[in-house]
C-alpha cells in the first residue's frame, strides 16, 4: 500500500508497455515496423461516401473480445475502451501484474482520451429511429462518456487507486504520463496505468478533415504523412491505444519487475494564443521545463521523438524550437510518418515507440523525409533507420488549444 504522506521524492520507472497500433498489434510487431519504416496508413473505403476530402488513415480493426471478457464487461466498450483494454493487458502482463495483485495493491489509471464520437452517434441514431430512450440499452452511457477507458478498465482490472481521464487534445496521452509521474514522484501512488486512446471511425475525424488539414494521397497512402519534408501537405489521422505501467522504483524493485526506463522530466505549458496554430514560445517553455526538472543539459538528450504531424506550419515551428534548444546535432524523427497522427493516443504511443527503440538500440526513421525545408534543414532528422545505442530521449506532444507537453525518459541506472 502506498504511503500517502509524501515525505520524500520517488524515482519513477516504466515496467510495462502495451500497443494496439496501426503499425502493429503488440510490441514485437511494432518493433519490426519501426525498424523497417513500415507505414500503417491505408485507403479507407468509408471516407469518400461520408464526405471526407482525405480518404486515408492509419487503421486498426476492432478487437474481438468475446471469450476474453464477459458480456457485461464488453457492453460498455466502444473503440477507445476496446483498444485500450488490449494495450493495457499487454502492458500489465509485461509488468507482471495480475488482477489478484491489482485488487490488493492500490494501482491507478490515468488515460488520455478526447472523444467518443462513434459511440455517441450510434446512440443518437438509435434514439432518432425509435424515439424512445428506454430502447438505447444499458451499455451506451459507458461507451458515450469521455472517461469510457477509465470506467471500463478500472472495473475489469479491479483498480483501487487514482482513476480519471485526461483530456488535452493531441497531448492527452503525454500529459497522462506526466501527471502519473508527478503523483508517483510525490509518493501518492505506487503504480499507475497511463496511456492514450484514439477511436478510428469517420464520425471522430469528419470535423478535423473539414479544416482541410489532412493530406490527400489515395494512390500512395504510405507516402502521405511526411513530417518535416518540404513537400508535406497535411496530416493523416490514425488511432488505436497505448498503455504504460509506471511505478515507483521501490515498487518495481520489490516486485522484481524489469525496468524499461525512468521518467526524469515533465514539462508543460499553454500557449494562451490561437486555438489551432502552434506557438514557439509555448513549445520552448515546455521543452526547457522538462530539461530543468530532469537536471539534464540539452546535449544529454540523444533522441527527440517530435510531435511533427506533417502540417506545413506545425512542423516548421517545432523544428525551430528544437533547433533553438538542442541545436543541430540531436537525432530527431517523427514516428507519425509511419503511424499517421494518433491524436489523443499519440503522446503515450510515441513514448512507447521511443522506449522500444532505446531498448533495442535503434532510431526509427522519419520516413518520406526526402527534401528538407528552410527549418528542418537545421535539425538532425533521421530519414533512414539508424542502429544506435542511446540512453535518453525526449518526446514532444502539442495539442489544439495550445496545450504542450514534453517528457524525458532515461535508461535506468541504479
Amino acid at each position: 500500500m502506498a504511503d500517502y504522506i509524501a515525505r520524500m521524492e520517488h524515482r519513477v520507472v516504466i515496467t510495462g508497455i502495451g500497443l494496439y497500433s496501426s503499425i502493429g498489434i503488440g510490441k514485437d510487431a511494432v518493433i519490426d515496423s519501426l525498424r523497417n519504416g513500415r507505414s500503417g496508413v491505408v485507403y479507407v473505403d468509408d471516407r469518400k461516401p461520408f464526405g471526407f476530402k482525405s480518404c486515408i488513415s492509419g487503421m486498426v480493426a476492432d478487437p474481438d473480445l468475446k471469450g476474453d471478457l464477459s458480456r457485461r464487461q464488453r457492453i460498455g466498450m466502444h473503440q477507445p475502451a476496446m483498444f485500450s483494454y488490449v494495450a493495457a493487458k499487454e502492458a500489465l502482463n509485461q509488468a507482471g501484474l495480475d488482477i489478484e495483485f491489482l485488487e490488493k495493491n492500490d494501482t491507478g489509471i490515468i488515460f488520455g482520451n478526447d472523444s467518443t464520437a462513434g459511440a455517441v452517434i450510434a446512440t443518437i441514431d438509435k434514439v432518432r429511429l425509435k424515439k424512445d430512450t428506454s430502447l438505447i440499452g444499458s451499455g451506451d452511457i459507458f461507451q458515450n462518456m469521455n472517461c469510457t477507458v477509465n470506467m471500463n478498465l478500472s472495473t475489469i482490472f479491479k483498480l483501487k487507486g487514482i482513476n480519471f481521464t485526461l483530456s488535452a487534445a493531441c497531448a492527452s496521452g503525454s500529459h497522462s504520463i506526466g501527471i502519473g509521474y508527478l503523483l508517483i514522484k510525490q509518493g501518492l501512488q505506487d503504480r499507475i496505468i497511463c496511456g492514450g486512446a484514439q477511436e478510428i471511425n469517420p464520425y471522430a475525424m469528419g470535423s478535423f478533415d473539414g479544416l482541410g488539414v489532412f493530406a490527400i494521397n489515395d494512390e500512395a497512402p504510405h507516402k502521405a504523412s511526411r513530417p518535416f519534408d518540404k513537400n508535406r501537405a497535411g496530416l493523416v489521422p490514425s488511432g488505436g491505444a497505448a498503455a504504460l505501467i509506471i511505478e515507483s522504483l521501490e515498487s518495481a524493485q520489490k516486485r522484481g519487475a524489469e525496468i524499461l526506463g525512468e521518467i526524469v522530466g515533465y514539462g508543460f505549458s499553454s500557449n494562451g494564443d490561437h486555438i489551432s496554430n502552434p506557438n514557439i514560445e509555448g513549445q520552448l517553455k515546455s521543452l526547457r521545463m522538462a530539461l530543468r526538472q530532469s537536471n539534464l543539459k540539452p546535449s544529454d538528450i540523444d533522441y527527440i521523438n517530435a510531435h511533427a504531424t506533417s502540417t506545413p506550419v506545425g512542423d516548421s515551428v517545432e523544428a525551430q524550437a528544437i533547433n533553438e534548444v538542442f541545436g543541430s546535432e540531436t537525432h530527431v524523427s517523427s514516428t507519425k510518418s509511419m503511424t499517421g497522427h494518433e491524436c489523443w493516443m499519440a503522446g503515450a504511443s510515441e513514448i512507447a515507440y521511443s522506449l522500444l527503440m532505446m531498448k533495442n538500440d535503434f532510431i526509427a526513421p522519419n520516413i518520406n523525409y526526402d527534401t528538407p525545408d528552410e527549418f528542418s534543414q537545421n535539425i538532425n532528422i533521421v530519414s533512414k533507420m539508424l542502429n544506435k545505442k542511446f540512453d535518453c530521449f525526449l518526446s514532444n506532444s502539442f495539442g489544439f488549444g495550445g496545450t504542450n507537453s514534453s517528457i524525458i525518459v532515461k535508461k535506468f541506472v541504479t
Binding site: 464477459s70 458480456r71 457485461r72 457492453i75 424512445d132 428506454s134 430502447l135 438505447i136 440499452g137 444499458s138 451499455g139
Partner: protein
C-alpha cells in the same frame, strides 16, 4: 403469434443476447437467475424483447414474471392485445 412460436423466438434471442446455453432456458426455470440479470441487464432485456416480440414490458410486468413460462404467458397476452 402462438405461445410455441413465442417460446422458440425467446429462447433464441435471450441465449444470444445474454450468452447462455439455450438448453438452460426451460419453462420452469427462474428467468432472473438463469440469465444472471442485474439492474442494468433489465434495460437490455426490454430492448431485445421490443426488437424481437414487438412490445415493451414494464417494471410492473417484470414483477409478475418469475419463470420463463410466466414470461411466455405475459408475451402471449401483450402480443394478442396489440
Amino acid at each position: 403469434m402462438t405461445k410455441d412460436k413465442i417460446t422458440q423466438t425467446t429462447i433464441k434471442f435471450l441465449s444470444e443476447e445474454f450468452e447462455i446455453n439455450p438448453q438452460e432456458i426451460i419453462p420452469e426455470n427462474n428467468l432472473k437467475e438463469t440469465l444472471d440479470l442485474d439492474s442494468l441487464d433489465y434495460v437490455d432485456l426490454v430492448v431485445v424483447i421490443e426488437e424481437n416480440l414487438g412490445f415493451q414490458p414494464t417494471r410492473e410486468d417484470f414483477e409478475q414474471v418469475v419463470s420463463f413460462d410466466d414470461f411466455y404467458n405475459l408475451a402471449e397476452k401483450r402480443i394478442s392485445k396489440s
